[in-house]
């Protein structure tokens, strides 16, 4: 089972992105030391520079990182094709996450930290998906919307997470056959281990203006200057969220499938500029289902899909050199805009029984005559659960697991997986590992000697050539971010001056949105909210939506110093903040034990 099998839900809508992007630029942030740049720049000066840089690049210095769906369930498929009459259709799809780049300078390590997502509402048809794994971005398609060249507007991205049945995943089917079918599949012992939610975001606009389609557009400069004017108003708070369209699918997650990126069979892009970007395929009984959600470009502002004519889906010879059989054709209407939105980019090609049997074991290609758009990489590795790994400099090494798939199914034992270091120009072999019986190979990931953000690339099979580059369309990869120990900061005297200068000023500079909740330069407020700050910065809450700092770049030394300050007896000046409970005050009431717990901060 996978999202390419049935039952599944489709959803469509928009996604709103509100990241602070100041840390994307070296002039403002050092991703190795995790410090603002230049270090010790006064907060007011830093903020002003960040505002000045809005034109043309730094488009959202007042962002919050919050990212949310405005979407609804748009259809279902329980095995007989698209159905828009199921009662769950029209139900809201709800998601709220924090968008964070593991590698701040880059664009291919984005992730969404969230607590739960939901399709439907309580009391009606509903699917409640608590977080087990972050939502990861994969297979960035830099050629998706070439008409829309503003910032990341040109690109589309696959986002995915999976929710184990063993978690608090809850399905309330009521009268929805689709949800009933999902529940039954989860209850079966057929290798189904949970649900996968996958969606594709595309056609991203900035400044709420779809007419701004170029980084050199005068319209962009006008909009940026208008934003700068708003940002320069004292006490202002002016986020500038970007907005994308999305299509998505919820389906079954089976044993051996990566949790946070597509499994199945990867049909890799073959032409430059992602003329047709990497897709995924699965033979499901009497059909081949293709996930083209990230693959076909929109060529204009009306979102017309690129017309590539009728495409052929071919079963190839074992070496991929010859067409063994044309399995079927995809006319334009099967991948045009209407079809794309209706089934979230999934295209079903009926197969005869012999063809299905052939397709299960022959490499697949998507072609137009002799022009090959997509070709299957039969043996492929994918991170099982962790695409972005965070480590502290003093941490012990952790294991990263790579699931190797062969024709979309877990490979057996003895497949060689190679790990490469990538320095931006050259891939250097680091080590290899062999898969176990479940097709999983493990690699030890140790923290870097100091702060660093390093990608590792992977190949599957002993004959696989080294990756030519880190191409998110082609290359399996993970990012490892090591936060420096900052032991000297941790050893400092926990005076306010030290805590502010070495810990809090960083986020006070980088994240002006914090002014809406807590003035980080006010010791009385910081002390008043000590319990909350400890709770929100606790490493145990690292995966939570509300974890602070959102950017996950507080070093051990910084945390140590902050906690020493928060735990120290309050200085007399700190009592000026009026909302202080008195330590001796105990309310009488019907439930003293609970009230006491509440007084300790809940």
């Amino acid at each position: 089972m996978s999202v390419l099998e049935t039952p599944r839900l489709y959803f469509t809508g928009q996604m709103v992105w509100d990241p602070i992007v100041t840390n994307n630029y070296q002039e403002f942030y050092n991703e190795v030391t995790c410090d603002p740049a230049p270090p010790n720049d006064p907060v007011a000066d830093f903020r002003q520079r960040a505002i000045a840089a809005v034109d043309p690049r730094n488009w959202n210095p007042h962002g919050t990182h919050r990212s949310t769906f405005l979407a609804e369930v748009s259809g279902v498929d329980v095995g007989s094709g698209l159905d828009t009459s199921d009662p769950v259709v029209g139900a809201p799809a709800s998601f709220l996450g924090m968008l964070v780049d593991a590698e701040p300078y880059g664009t291919i390590s984005s992730q969404l930290f969230f607590d739960s997502m939901q399709f439907g509402i309580a009391g009606g048809c509903r699917l409640t998906c608590p977080r087990t794994f972050r939502v990861m971005s994969r297979y960035v398609n830099f050629g998706r919307n070439s008409y829309n060249q503003i910032k990341a507007g040109v690109a589309s991205v696959i986002w995915q997470t999976s929710i184990p049945s063993s978690s608090l995943l809850q399905i309330d089917p009521h009268d929805s056959p689709a949800l009933q079918a999902l529940a039954e599949a989860l209850a079966s012992e057929n290798g189904v281990i949970g649900l996968t939610v996958r969606w594709n975001t595309y056609r991203t606009i900035y400044y709420d203006d779809p007419a701004i389609i170029s980084n050199s557009s005068p319209l962009l400069s006008q909009a940026a200057q208008a934003l700068i004017a708003k940002l320069n108003v004292p006490n202002s708070f002016q986020p500038n969220p970007a907005r994308s369209l999305l299509v998505g699918v919820v389906g079954l997650w089976r044993q051996g499938e990566p949790a946070c990126e597509p499994g199945d069979r990867a049909l890799l892009a073959q032409l430059p500029n992602e003329t047709v970007a990497t897709a995924f395929a699965r033979v499901t009984g009497d059909a081949l289902v293709l996930d083209l959600s990230n693959s076909i470009s929109e060529v204009d502002a009306e979102l017309t899909k690129q017309d590539l004519g009728t495409l052929s889906v071919c079963a190839m010879s074992a070496d991929g050199a010859k067409v063994a059989k044309v399995l079927g054709s995809l006319p334009y209407k099967s991948y045009d805009r209407c079809s794309y939105v209706a089934t979230s980019g999934l295209v079903t090609l009926p197969l005869s029984a012999p063809d299905a049997e052939l397709a299960a074991t022959a490499p697949l290609q998507l072609r137009s005559g002799s022009l090959v758009y997509l070709a299957e990489e039969v043996l492929r590795a994918a991170p099982s659960t962790q695409q972005n790994i965070y480590l502290n400099q003093t941490d012990a090494a952790v294991e990263a697991e790579l699931q190797v798939l062969s024709f979309g199914a877990p490979a057996g034992a003895g497949v060689t997986v190679s790990r490469y270091d990538w320095d931006g120009t050259t891939a250097t072999l680091l080590d290899t590992a062999q898969t176990g019986p479940d097709g999983v190979a493990s690699f030890e990931v140790a923290p870097a000697a100091a702060g660093a953000v390093l990608p590792y690339l992977f190949t599957a099979g002993s004959e696989a050539p080294a990756p030519a580059q880190l191409d998110p369309q082609l290359t399996p990869y993970i990012y490892v971010r090591t936060l420096p120990a900052d032991a000297e900061i941790g050893a400092m005297d926990p005076s306010w001056d030290n805590v502010y200068a070495n810990v809090l000023a960083k986020w006070n500079a980088m994240a002006p949105c914090m002014d809406n909740w807590l003035l980080l330069d006010q010791p009385a407020q910081v002390r008043a909210y000590a319990a909350m700050l400890r709770k929100l910065t606790d490493p145990a809450a690292f995966e939570a939506y509300r974890f602070m700092p959102v950017t996950r770049d507080m070093t051990e030394g910084e945390r140590t110093l902050l906690y020493k300050f928060l735990d120290a007896p309050p200085e007399p000046a700190a009592k000026s903040f009026a909302a202080q409970p008195t330590a001796a005050a105990r309310p009488a009431g019907p439930d003293i034990e609970r009230l006491n717990r509440a007084m300790r901060g809940g």
């Binding site: 928009q14 709103v16 509100d18 919050r66 949310t68 405005l70 609804e72 009662p87 029209g90 139900a91 809201p92 509402i121 309580a122 009391g123 009606g124 048809c125 009521h174 009268d175 709420d208 708003k230 108003v233 006490n235 202002s236 708070f237 002016q238 986020p239 500038n240 969220p241 949105c513 002014d515 809406n516 909740w517 807590l518 003035l519 008043a528 909210y529 009026a578 909302a579 202080q580 409970p581 008195t582 005050a585 105990r586 309310p587 009488a588 009431g589 019907p590 439930d591 609970r594 009230l595 717990r597 509440a598 007084m599 901060g601 809940g602």
Partner: protein
């Protein structure tokens, strides 16, 4: 049910005056809903807290949307803090008493009050609107909005000023808060407000297929999830419990604004002062925001966060009689440009 007395507006000034009343109602619901929410013990009643959070958030959106309409019509929205208990302008049923809205701690009484405020009308709203347009008289909030909406539909495009002092969703409430640049936007805003508050006679779902406020309060009141059923009338309360624990709340007094804190400890008085300071700061920032300084919305949110923290502190300070008090929601201007 809030019943209002109104006659069909005959000009833009009339419509603005009616919308100003609506602003007072939308704003006036926030303190009682917040009082109930704040008084829930930390960690207790998560499902009820989630529902109250949603209601409070949507009331804030409604407030901003009505302000957007007033601004688009050339008016100047005013935020006037009610003194609780208050009627919020309710005239009551024929021959009956108006609904008195109090600050009540989390409990059945507070939830029943929420249901009473949000209670939907009995008849399809637009049929009622047609008859009311001819006669005027007493009406629910939904009917009241419909009356305004019907008049706004008659205005020429020149009556609207696009982009005037609008609060949009780029700061908060993504996708739910939008500029009112003309009648179509105003109509959508009114539909959203009415739909989210009351739902409709035959359907508890609002325009986004979420439960309307009346039913959210009902879920808490009955401690039952409003559940879809195949037979008429299509829904029932339960059988699944929502998981309400009425004991999971502070023993807070009602309407602390009416309480004489001079007999209580200095700590209790200081806690109330902190609450009122934060509340007043929030109103003043919000007033500036809806009058064109949209950036002040962030300051309003910070003050609201401060209010929440101050309320948490206040609810832990015993009064002389052993109970506690949440925020009084008493407004005092905090500086120039403050609300009046």
């Amino acid at each position: 049910m809030i019943r209002l007395q109104a006659t069909p507006p005959s000009n833009v000034d009339d419509a603005i005056a009616m919308l100003q009343t609506a602003i007072g109602i939308e704003f006036g619901t926030l303190p009682p809903y917040l009082y109930a929410k704040f008084s829930i013990l930390p960690g207790a009643n998560p499902a009820a807290t989630e529902r109250l959070n949603m209601i409070v958030g949507q009331e804030m959106i409604h407030l901003c949307l009505v302000c957007n309409i007033v601004n688009a019509l050339g008016g100047t929205p005013r935020l006037t803090a009610p003194v609780y208990p208050t009627t919020l302008g309710d005239i009551g049923p024929p021959g009956g008493d108006p609904l008195v809205v109090s600050l009540l701690p989390f409990g059945p009484e507070a939830m029943a009050q929420g249901m009473a405020i949000e209670e939907p009308e009995e008849v399809p709203p637009y049929k009622v609107v047609e008859s009311l347009m001819a006669t005027g008289g007493a009406m629910t909030i939904g009917q009241y909005y419909a009356l305004v909406d019907a008049f706004l539909a008659t205005l020429p495009p020149s009556a609207w000023t696009a982009g005037r002092n609008q609060i949009t969703d780029d700061q908060f409430f993504a996708g739910q808060l939008f500029a009112v640049d003309g009648y179509d936007d105003a109509h959508m805003a009114i539909q959203q407000i009415v739909s989210e508050g009351e739902g409709s006679k035959d359907d508890p779902l609002d325009f986004q297929n979420e439960l309307a406020h009346y039913y959210r309060f009902g879920e808490i009141f009955y401690d039952k999830v409003l559940t879809k059923i195949p037979e008429d009338p299509g829904y029932q309360w339960g059988p699944t419990p929502l998981g309400v624990d009425w004991a999971g709340a502070y023993p807070a007094i009602p309407d602390p604004g009416s309480h004489d804190f001079s007999q209580d400890s200095e700590a209790a008085q200081a806690a109330q002062h902190a609450c009122n300071l934060a509340y007043s700061g929030m109103i003043d920032a919000l007033q500036k925001a809806v009058n064109g300084a949209a950036g002040e919305l962030g300051a309003a949110v910070r003050k609201m966060f401060e209010l929440r923290m101050a309320a948490m502190a206040a609810l832990q300070v015993p009064l002389a009689d052993g109970q506690v008090a949440g925020p009084s929601f008493v407004y005092t201007p905090t500086g120039p440009g403050a609300s009046s």
